[in-house]
Structures are given as C-alpha cells and as structure tokens.
Point group: C2
Chain length 453, copies 2
C-alpha cells in the first residue's frame, strides 16, 4: 500500500486534478491520498493558504472579510467548474468558511490555525467529490474522526503517539481515502496546524501509522537535484539517496522536501519517492535507509547564507573544565540555537544563524561572555555561508577532502572553517557569502563533471 | 635586564655549572638566574627531584630515609667537589634535609612538596656559593622573603597577584640573584610547588614581575624543532615563533617548554629565548608576540596519541536548543575535559584524552547520554591521534588545506576528523594512531622539503 501526497501546485487547477486522478487510479496500491490546499497556477498567483491568512487577519482586525472569503471560494469554484462538479461542493465550502470566521477569536493564533487548515480540509472534500464523480469509490477522511491527535501548539503542532495506533485502523476502510494535510486536532478537539509545508508531515505520519510500503510525494520537479539549479545550470538528478543525505542537504538550502516531514517515515523505514505530477513517468528520487554507493563519494552539494560566528579566545581555555558548557549556556539563555563549534586549543567559535540576533542581543551575549567567562577576546564575523558536501561512503574515501579543498583553492576561495568528522556522510566548509556561488560551482565541477582529455 | 633559567641537565654536574657561569657572566644584562634541581648526567641517571620524591615516600611509610638522603647529598657533594667549593655548602644542604624530613607529616601532599622544593632551593644556594667563589657578587634569593606568594594547592600552586608587585623590588638589589625555581610560599608560610617543570613557571613569573626585557630559557637543545625528531630525522629548527604557535605546538606533544610557563611572560609581552647551555652561541628559538611571516604558511607540526571520540547522533538534534550544553554537562559531572566537538547536522563527536576514563566511567557516560539526552546512537572510537599543523598567517593562505589533505591522501592516511577555523594559526587532523607517524612525515615533506626538479 502506498500513501501519496500531492503538493499545492499539483492541485492548483482542474487540469492538475485530472493528472492527480490519473496518477492515483493508475496504481491500485495508491490508497491514501494526502492533499495540500490549491497552490499557484502561475508565478503571479496567490496560494489559497495565503488568501486564508489574509482573511483571518481581516477578521482579527474587525474588518469585513467578505472580499477575502470570495477570493478563496472563487479558487475552489474555478476548479469545480473546470471539472463539472456539483455546485453543492462550493456551497459547502462557503458555509464552512462562514462557520470558521464566526468562531471564537480570543486566541488569535488558534483562530489563524482554524482558518489556514480549511485550505486543505475543503480541498480534500473537493478531491473526494471529484474522484466520486469519476465513478471511483473515494472518501474524504476527517482527521478528527480518524484520530490524528496533535499537541496544542499553533503553527507547530506535533502528532501525539496515540495517533499512530488509531490511524492504523484506516487500513480497514474501502476505497481511496482522501486525507487533508497540514493539521490535526488537539485532545480538546481544536484545530492545530503543523509548521509550514506541513502536508508533507501528514503524509509521513500516515505512511508510518498505516505501515505503508512507500510514501510517494508528488511535487513539480522531476527529481531532487545534486546542486541548486540557480547556481549550476542543468545539474544532475539524484536517483537514490539516503535519509541522512537528504537531511544534510535539506539543512543547507535544499527545499524540495520539508526535512521534519521525513521523521515519521524515517523511524518506520518507509522509502519516500519524490515524483513529478506533471511528468509521472519520470522515476523521481527515492529516499531510502541504505543505498549502494556506486556514483562516487559525493551525491549532492548544498549551501546556505546568513550565518555569523562568535569567536572566543582565552589563554589555557583548554584546561578549564566547564568552559564550553557555560558558553553554550549563555546562548541558551537567549534561546539561540547554534550550528557548529569549531575549536582550537584556546579558542572556540560558535556558528549560528544571523537572523536570530539583533544588535542589542549580540552586544549582550558578547558582554556576558567577556564578563562571566573572563574571555580574553570575543569577536564576531558576519555574512558567512555554509556549504555541505554530502555523500554516503565519503568517509572511507581517502582523498575526498584533498579534492574538495584543492577545487576551492583553485577557485581562489578562502576556507574560513572546516567541520568534518562527526557526520560520516558530509563535510562542511564555511566561506564568505561573496564566495558562496564560486565555491559551489567549483565543488560541483570537481565531483560531478567527468574529466575529458 | 634578562631573566635566565637553567634546566636540570644544565645543572647536573660541576662541568655544567662552569658553562652556566660563563653564560651568565658573558652578558651583564643577565641579572636573575632561576635554577632547577640537578638533573640527569646521563640517560641512566636519576634526577634529584625523583630522589627527593623517593625520600619523602620512605618517610611517609615510616621507613628509614637515611639511604635516600645520602643519595641526594651525594649528588650535591659531587658538584661541590668538582668545583672545589667549601664543605660548608654540603653541611648546610644536609642539615636542611634533616630539618625537612622531621617536619609535620599530617598532610602527605604538603610534606611531599616541602621535600621536592629542596632540590631547587639547595641548588640555588650551591650556585650562588659557586658564583661567589669565582669573585662575582651573587646572592641566593629566598622566595619567601622576596615575596613569591602562591595558592595552597600541593603540586599545582598558582602565583597570587600580589607576588608580582613584591617581586619587582628585586630590581633594586645588587649582584646576580640566584632564585630557586619550582615553588613558592603560601600566605601561611608553607612551601607549595608548581606543577612539574615548574622552574619554567618561576622564570616566567620573575620576567613578568621584574619587567625583564628578555626571558632566556636554557635547556639542552639548540632550538625548538619544526617536528618531533623521533618521527622525522634532522628536522628544521624554528628561529622565531609566536606565543600562539608555541601554545598550539606544545599542546600536541612539543615538550621543550612547559606551556603554562608561558602565561606570565605572554601577558607581559616579554620575548622568550630557548637556548642551549651546551652550545650557547646558537641563536636558539625566540618566542614573540608577533613575527614576520616569511617562511611559508607552516612553522611546525605536532602530534599526540591517546585520544578517543564519543559520537552522539539524534535525529533533528540541530533543532534542539540546549542539547550541546547538556551533553557537555554530563562530561563535566565526571570531571572530564574535552578537546574538540566536531559536529554534523544531527550528530556531534566529543574528542577527549582516553586516559581520563576507565571502562566503568565510559559506560556510565554513554548510558547517561542515551537515557537523559534521548540520543538515537552513542558510539566510541578509540586510539586516535591528533595532528596539529601550526603557523601564523596560515589562515589567509588559500590552498594550505588542499596541500595538507593531498599530502595525507597520497600517504593513504584516512582523515577521521578535521577541525579548522577557530584558531587562525592551526588546522587539526584526527587520524588513527597507526597512521600518525606516516601522516606527520607526509605533512613535513609537503611543507618543509623544497621540491627539487
């Protein structure tokens, strides 16, 4: 049995829904269909989820939301019309929205979640109605009734353990089950959404709970690329990669799949297949637990900007038990998460995402490190980029670092930082942001372009 | 004005003391002479400090210490005889030892410190008597009377801040001042020694306190070598290196100078000159605050064995604020100091010296990391060596990492870990102990042997 998830662009129009219908019905194993809200039909379009957020904000500001509601309904209506579905589908969606906007607004975050979740919920109803109109047994599944119970954190809900056992019972139901992504219900019966792109999470939870053989994740690219196509033109597609590789790549800028979404599938060892709704015959990218290492040490190169480093030096720091712990404790007091802590003998640098700190916080942090930890020197470097070179089996490959650092030297990129040796599947380089593009291109050329004589 | 320190081998015999006398009197700036206890005259010899430790242990076990005392006195007597000094010098040393062994033994560590300190104290008296016998104004300086006040930690005393001000007054005294190394007095007037090789520390403290122009440290090698001579035959001598470089090198196996000893001189910006008593015309190695970078990026390569790594992985560790702090907190609970913490996205390794943990402690640590931090996996790798490649200006040198990693790859050394980017003057490689020698040789060849065509 397969759980199949379709993203917003795969559900943006009637035409797209026809493709979805063909894909689902082409394989009898595709039993559970998880749907996002309708996405963009063209680059200028607005996603239904964004329209719903505007709608919620109008309500919270006591403005008349009629225009916003009309915009949302219009999106569904155009699909219904394209597919010749009954007007009742639209009436129900309209009624649902009116019920939602008249709900309790005393907690704005919860009200926002209630509105946002309608995007997926109503789309699941629409998709089920469409499948039925084509003579296929299909049922909308209400997450509440099915037992997807989540924690009560608006915009960041987590599935509770009991959900998995309850959802397993869906296996008993007949027909195709159309399940709305992105949200669940708290123990008290209130709607809470996952973090953004949370439909991927719903699909992953269902794949785990129903013990699916495969989790197919349909989006709008043929495959995961080995490098960002905006940095390297026509990069190689990745046929197969492991969860670990995917996680390391998605950390630094690979946005095809929301990385948290992998957790439930990862824990259950269920393979994930990234496929293209617009080109379903392409094999896509398969994410697995283990893979045969046949394509050289490196499978992908990712990079991300916006990091800074706090350098701390203190003579004989190395002898001081507790220094590192205290340093990290100061960061924790400000809720700062850090990425890496490369260290010398008497110095350590903490690399963190720059957008976490305003100038005032930075000053306070530096000041506390100086006064409480008696550091000799504290200095900050801004505008760093981290580059991840990722691949299973890289560890055992003598010379991979030599190739990577030689490629960077040839491209005149100064390496500010190297972190290698904990993860077996990646090496990380820190460079100045201005060097990022050149560095990624040089590494891609080294590891992906065959040498022609 | 120069503070001059002589190590044990420079003071092991009358013949050696003659060299010391010549060196000191050859330069009128050499005013303060810090002396160690007599060291080994040949590889089979026993250092006076070790004889004194045996003596103290006999006393503490209520055994007759006469034989041990005789052995100590005999060492001084042979020097006195060689130099034709008065027998009174020996009588005083003998009396001093008898007084010390009859002291309070209720605190064995303090009693041990009292005995150990006599090695330097009596040698300073002997050296002063010898200088006087040659018609030179020279005075033994009692650290208590001179004001070298230290904390009351046996075997690990630290100079108290007030010492520096008091010792400055020594500048007013006439003649050559012979100061015993290795110990000071607590506020209560009790003897406490510095850590082993602590005469270097005494010299450094005096250089700082007296605002010396230079701290000359005489030992038995012509210079600090760029690499361990037992790994590479006839390595290059280092003419000049910075404090930071010295500290990084001494961390990983360079034992010419006790690294803590540098702190007081470092803080005062006083250059340190490592010289050879047996070849005083050699310029030796000068340790300075800053140096001109003229000899390529690397100045030295050091390595040390006996490290292990504790690898911890947990899915989405990267998102968990406080994980690193808690991990280091567990180590701190067992008094473990760590060296480095290379990290991936969802994993971190802690590198520490293996001799800190027995099997039971290791099991406890692993168990606590698993249960308290809910780690997915914890594993230990043993028998690692760390190699430091050190040099000022290395940071700005695009390609140094490429050269180093290529050299290691060529020598078929697998790099287990790289830590680069916090210290500006070093890069660190972790390798298996079996690969250490080959790795160091390969790096030395790359950075120190000119390519001949």
């Amino acid at each position: 049995m397969k759980v199949v998830k379709f993203g917003g662009s795969s559900l943006a129009s009637g035409r797209q829904l026809e493709k979805v219908f063909k894909i689902v019905t082409a394989d009898r194993e595709r039993k559970v269909v998880v749907v996002s809200a309708p996405g963009k039909r063209n680059p200028e379009d607005i996603k239904v989820t964004d329209l719903l957020i505007e709608c919620a904000e109008s309500c919270l500001q006591n403005l008349d939301p009629q225009e916003k509601i009309a915009a949302v309904v219009e999106r569904y209506a155009s699909i219904v019309q394209e597919l010749n579905l009954s007007d009742r589908v639209i009436e129900e969606i309209h009624d649902d929205l009116l019920t939602r906007i008249s709900s309790d607004k005393s907690n704005p975050d919860r009200f926002l979640d209630l509105l946002k979740a309608s995007g997926e919920d109503n789309n699941a109803k629409l998709v089920a109605a469409y499948f039925q109109s084509q003579g296929i047994e299909a049922h909308y599944v209400d997450p509440k009734e099915a037992g997807l119970i989540v924690s009560d954190e608006p915009g960041n809900a987590q599935a509770l353990p009991e959900s998995y056992e309850r959802l397993y019972a869906l296996n008993e139901r007949s027909g195709i089950l159309v399940f709305p992504g992105f949200f669940g219900y708290s123990v008290n019966g209130e709607v809470f959404t996952f973090s953004r792109s949370g439909s991927d999470i719903t699909g992953s939870i269902l794949a785990n709970a129903l013990k699916a053989d495969l989790y197919e994740n349909f989006t709008d690219v043929d495959a995961v690329y080995s490098v960002n196509p905006s940095i390297v033109r026509n990069p190689k597609e990745i046929k197969e990669l492991t969860y670990r590789e995917m996680r390391e790549l998605s950390y630094a800028g690979f946005t095809v799949l929301h990385d948290e979404a992998l957790v439930p599938a990862f824990r259950a060892g269920i393979p994930v297949n990234i496929k293209n709704t617009n080109n379903p015959s392409a094999k896509g990218t398969l994410i697995v637990n283990q893979r045969d290492n046949t394509n050289g040490p490196v499978i992908g190169i990712a990079s991300d900007k916006g990091f800074c480093s706090i350098y701390v030096s203190k003579y004989l720091m190395n002898r001081e038990i507790g220094f590192g712990r205290k340093l990290l404790g100061v960061l924790e007091d400000y809720g700062l998460s850090y990425e890496h802590t490369p260290s010398g003998i008497d110095d350590v640098s903490v690399i963190l995402r720059e957008n976490q700190l305003d100038e005032k916080t930075m000053d306070e942090v530096i000041n506390r490190i100086k006064t409480e930890l008696h550091a000799d020197e504290v200095k900050v470097a801004h505008s760093l980029a981290l580059i991840m070179v990722v691949g299973e089996g890289m560890r055992q490959n003598v010379g991979t670092m030599a190739r990577a650092s030689k490629a960077l030297a040839k491209a005149k990129v100064n390496i500010e930082m190297i972190n290698q040796g904990s993860s077996e599947v990646s090496m990380m380089f820190g460079v100045h942001e201005v060097d990022e593009k050149r560095a990624v291109q040089a590494l891609y050329e080294e590891f992906f372009i065959p040498v022609t004589v």
